[in-house]
């Protein structure tokens, strides 16, 4: 029998990276007896190595806790660990949609950060009751009152009854658990006898179970052997397992209204299970889907090439394996003259891209060459057509283009006052439009509109370096806007290098082109013939450099005892030719292009 709704609390934890979300969650689990002390590894909820190391959560996780409160009632607490980054903001919003309240965790030594803001606003949009929690009070530099003030000033939440605690030592945890049942609301609505209606919160691939689907039941029940339907794509499946996490897998007979848990249904491909989808009974479906469903749309693109051309098939296989668990990764084969065979990949955002790259490197031991990230442009053609451009190489001829639109973001940056000047300059340089500049304590809060194109490049690195690591940054997409954009082409001996093509604003084209030409000049070794490096827009050359011809490369002594050695060297050189790319009459080592791509813009 399902738990009465009033004895259930579903809540999420919102926190900035490193503010101790996972440690706090671990402590709650342990206090409620979900795991013995010896079973606790640090941050039990973050499953992958990358999640643990980077302190970010990629997949949503739930844990069901049993808590007997001071009123003598045993409550079912469903703790939702949400993905913690803007790239996954849609996933975050669906996770939040499955809860009624949020714990806002603020580090008492750091205060509120930009990322916290975005998630708090998202929780507000989901009508959450938000309960501030001031964490890490065990640290000597903890300042509970300052954290309270920041929560009130920056977020505008009443923080007078914020709960001070320490996930690390366990101080304040009993108060926090009591506050969860007294101050957060139970699930509302919820009809046990109505047709099944459940929210698909997240899903992942498990080698033993197949695709595991995390759900929150709204109405009705989910039961073993029930035939269910995914409303976004009409797929039907038979439920073969129903269960919950404690965080261990525990099988149940059913999940009822207000409850969270998981189901499996012999699903092989994660792309069938769309986050935000509505799951219902096949024979007795609910009348309306849940609101807010969106298919995932990649926003940032880049290409991955194997550093060793022999690894292409391995890369294909590895991408396939990554996608087993990440339906938001898009990829297709691409062939580049400069870099050989690779894949054009689409990501939700920059962090998503980084995570995928790191997983390929780490889990599959692949040495990758990523091209410069780019965004998705909309090109309005003179004939009235609109083209979506995923790769600068595919840009149509200039004469046929009426205008180009690029995606914009709204960025929120929190920065200590002393670094404000540098950051304003950075935003200005990146074609930013200031929307807001306010002061909160010793920090400035900047809100800027920026072209995403300018941010994908190295904005985050620059921001961190200008602010010595103190600035925090978050963004949300903010529509498309027309701009004076051009395709900047890099040519070597008159031939375009596809991997180095980029779309840039007309005003910064010359500087970027000159920079790339100079960089290549240093990277391309002298060859037998002179090499011309040019940056061009359309047919117009805007920058040029030459690598002068090598004048001397001859072995001084070569007698009978040297032939074998020289021949071996020659055989090696011949093999190396496979890694050379022909441009006009010269062969350029692939490594030069790789190095050009690896260096940041300075």
């Amino acid at each position: 029998m399902s738990k009465p709704l009033e004895h259930i609390r579903n809540f999420a934890i919102i926190a900035h990276i490193d503010h101790g979300k996972s440690t706090l969650a671990d402590r709650l689990i342990q206090t409620c007896g979900g795991l013995e002390e010896r079973e606790m590894t640090q941050q039990v909820l973050d499953n992958t190595d990358i999640e643990r190391e980077r302190g970010i959560t990629i997949k949503a996780q739930t844990v069901r806790l049993e808590y007997t409160a001071k009123d003598g009632i045993t409550y079912q607490l469903n703790l939702m660990d949400t993905p913690g980054h803007v790239d996954f903001s849609y996933e975050v919003s669906r996770s939040l949609a499955s809860c009624e309240g949020s714990l806002l965790v603020v580090d008492s030594t750091q205060g509120v950060e930009a990322q916290t803001l975005a998630n708090v606003y998202m929780a507000m949009e989901n009508d959450h009751e938000i309960m501030p929690v001031i964490n890490k009070i065990d640290l000597p530099s903890a300042d509970i009152n300052a954290a309270r003030t920041e929560i009130e000033d920056v977020i505008g939440l009443d923080a007078s009854d914020a709960v001070p605690c320490s996930g690390k030592t366990g101080a304040g945890i009993p108060d926090l658990l009591e506050a969860i049942v007294t101050r957060l609301p139970p699930p509302h609505g919820g009809d046990h006898d109505a047709p099944t209606k459940a929210l698909l919160v997240d899903s992942w691939y498990d080698i033993y179970l197949g695709v595991v689907v995390l759900v929150r039941v709204i109405d009705g029940t989910l039961r073993k052997n029930q035939k269910i339907k995914f409303m976004s794509n009409g797929a039907t499946r038979t439920v073969d397992r129903v269960g919950m996490f404690t965080p261990k897998h525990v099988l149940l007979d059913e999940l009822g209204p207000g409850e969270m848990g998981f189901i499996t249904a012999s699903i092989k491909d994660i792309s069938e299970t769309n986050v935000g989808d509505t799951i219902t009974d096949e024979k007795n479906p609910c009348s309306e889907k849940l609101k807010g469903f969106k298919p995932s749309i990649p926003m940032v693109f880049c290409s991955f090439y194997p550093a060793d051309a022999g690894d292409f098939e391995k890369l294909r296989e590895s991408l396939g394996k990554v996608r087993l668990n990440d339906a938001s990764l898009h990829y297709e084969t691409e062939s580049s003259q400069a870099l050989g065979l690779g894949f054009r990949c689409g990501f939700l955002g920059l962090l998503h891209m980084e995570i995928i790259q790191e997983r390929l490197d780490r889990e599959f031991d692949l040495d990758l060459i990523p091209t410069a990230p780019s965004v998705v442009y909309k090109i309005n053609m003179t004939n009235g057509e609109q083209i979506t451009l995923y790769n600068p190489v595919d840009m149509p001829e200039v004469q046929k283009i009426e205008s180009i639109e690029e995606p914009w973001i709204k960025a929120t940056i929190l920065v200590p006052d002393e670094f404000l000047g540098g950051l304003l300059q950075l935003c200005q340089d990146r074609r930013g439009v200031q929307i807001e500049l306010t002061y909160v304590g010793g920090r400035a809060m900047l809100v800027y509109r920026l072209p995403l194109n300018e941010v994908v490049f190295d904005f985050y690195d620059r921001l961190k370096s200008i602010s010595k690591g103190y600035a925090s940054f978050d963004y949300e997409l903010d529509g498309y806007g027309e701009n004076n954009l051009v395709k900047l082409e890099i040519r070597v001996n008159e031939e375009p290098v596809d991997a180095l093509a980029m779309i840039v604003h007309r005003e910064s084209a010359e500087a970027r082109g000159r920079g790339m030409c100079e960089r290549l000049k240093d990277l391309i070794p002298r060859q037998m013939f002179k090499i011309a490096i040019q940056a061009a827009i359309g047919g117009k050359i805007i920058a040029r450099e030459n690598v002068s011809a090598m004048r001397k490369d001859v072995t001084a002594k070569c007698y009978g005892g040297d032939i074998t050695r020289k021949k071996k060297l020659l055989e090696k050189q011949k093999k190396g030719k496979a890694k050379m790319r022909q441009y006009g009459n010269v062969e350029i080592p692939q490594s030069a292009f790789i190095a050009a791509l690896k260096m940041g813009d300075d």
Partner: protein, 386 residues
């Protein structure tokens, strides 16, 4: 058995030196007290072994290299030459060269070497500047070197000497002056090497640590072209990348290497190219002197490597060696070694492009590199190979 190139060369490697020069990566060792008798036996047994494998050939040249073969006892040299004479037919104009250090001690042995049968010496003079000789780790000074040249002139109808140029901090003008001061001492043949930093030498580490720098790129090319201009004007044009000669004074032995003929390599680490039953083989003898001596002394079989060469390998070797010569490489020889047409293994478009550039010329029989091509030889060979 008939051989297309018939005549062979024999290289004898004497692996010992009194001191190691910091730029040298040759197989040389310092040993106290060498057992001359045992070594003589080793060489003789090795020569007998090779004679059994390739009988009936005519020896065009013998070359004693090292190491420092001028440290050999003249009697050992004599025994080796006697055995060669016994094992093979000898060309009337046989060239017998011995490499010598131009120290007074060694020059004093020239008479004895002449008596043993040596008819040409190659002197490692390296520089006519005392400071540079010290830097190069040589045991002699410039005055001694000139004295040794005089003794060579008195004893041998032919001699050659080496200079190393493009040294650290050397200017073009300094080199020109030094080279010009050497001109009166030349007797038809001279080797001029640009200093090369080889791996596994003391210079390699010192250079990597930045203790000195050698001219590179443009300046190195300027050194080379200046040298060509001076030597050509003196009637001593380069017949090979680093070797200059008056008419008909080429080193017959080295020409065998560059024309990709057959040669026996006897002695520690020595390489050979032997055509046996119509198949060309690459040989290399054991490098460690003690191991070589033990094997050679036992049965004359001291070859550590003995590999048949494929047509591809032979084509490549013949091409890279032949293009070093001013006469170029014979197309017929290439096609014979490669068992193919020239265009099967080289890129015709690239050859034509180099011709248009003026770096390569082609006749009915040969392809050859002009100075600008020779300067880029290491890049050109892989460039034109398919």
């Amino acid at each position: 058995m008939s051989h297309p190139q018939g005549q062979i060369g024999i290289y004898i490697h004497w692996p010992f030196c009194l001191a190691k020069c910091p730029y040298c990566d040759f197989n040389s060792h310092i040993r106290e007290g060498v057992d001359d008798q045992a070594w003589q036996e080793g060489y003789i047994k090795t020569l007998d072994h090779y004679a059994a494998q390739m009988p009936g050939r005519t020896v065009r040249s013998v070359f004693f290299g090292g190491g420092t073969p001028s440290l050999m006892k003249p009697s050992v040299v004599e025994s080796i030459l006697e055995r060669i004479q016994k094992n093979w037919r000898i060309a009337n104009d046989i060239e017998i060269t011995l490499e010598a250090n131009p120290t007074s001690v060694e020059a004093d042995k020239f008479v004895a070497f002449r008596a043993a049968g040596v008819n040409r010496v190659s002197l490692g003079v390296q520089s006519l500047n005392d400071d540079d000789l010290k830097f190069l780790g040589r045991e002699h000074n410039a005055a001694e070197a000139l004295k040794a040249i005089d003794i060579a002139r008195e004893n041998f109808e032919r001699y050659s000497f080496d200079l190393i140029y493009a040294r650290p901090d050397q200017t073009l003008a300094q080199w020109e002056a030094e080279l010009r001061s050497a001109l009166p001492h030349i007797n038809g043949h001279m080797s001029l090497y640009q200093l090369t930093i080889e791996r596994r030498t003391p210079f390699y580490m010192a250079h990597a640590r930045g203790e000195f720098a050698i001219p590179k790129d443009d300046l190195a090319a300027d050194f080379y072209t200046l040298t060509q201009e001076i030597m050509s004007a003196e009637g001593l044009p380069a017949y090979e990348v680093s070797n200059h000669v008056a008419p008909n004074q080429e080193s017959a032995h080295n020409m065998i290497y560059w024309r990709y003929g057959d040669y026996i390599g006897a002695g520690p680490g020595a390489h050979g190219r032997l055509t046996i039953n119509g198949q060309k083989h690459a040989t290399r003898e054991h490098s460690a002197p003690e191991i070589w001596l033990e094997k050679a002394g036992a049965n004359g079989q001291a070859a550590h490597e003995y590999e048949p060469l494929s047509a591809d390998e032979r084509f490549m070797e013949a091409l890279m060696m032949g293009l070093r010569l001013a006469e170029g490489v014979s197309k017929a020889a290439l096609e014979r070694e490669g068992e193919c047409m020239l265009e099967d293994k080289t890129d015709r478009a690239k050859l034509d492009e180099l011709k248009a550039q003026g770096w390569l010329t082609e006749t009915d029989t040969h392809i050859k590199l002009e100075v600008e091509g020779l300067l880029r030889l290491n890049a050109i060979v892989p460039h034109i190979l398919k």
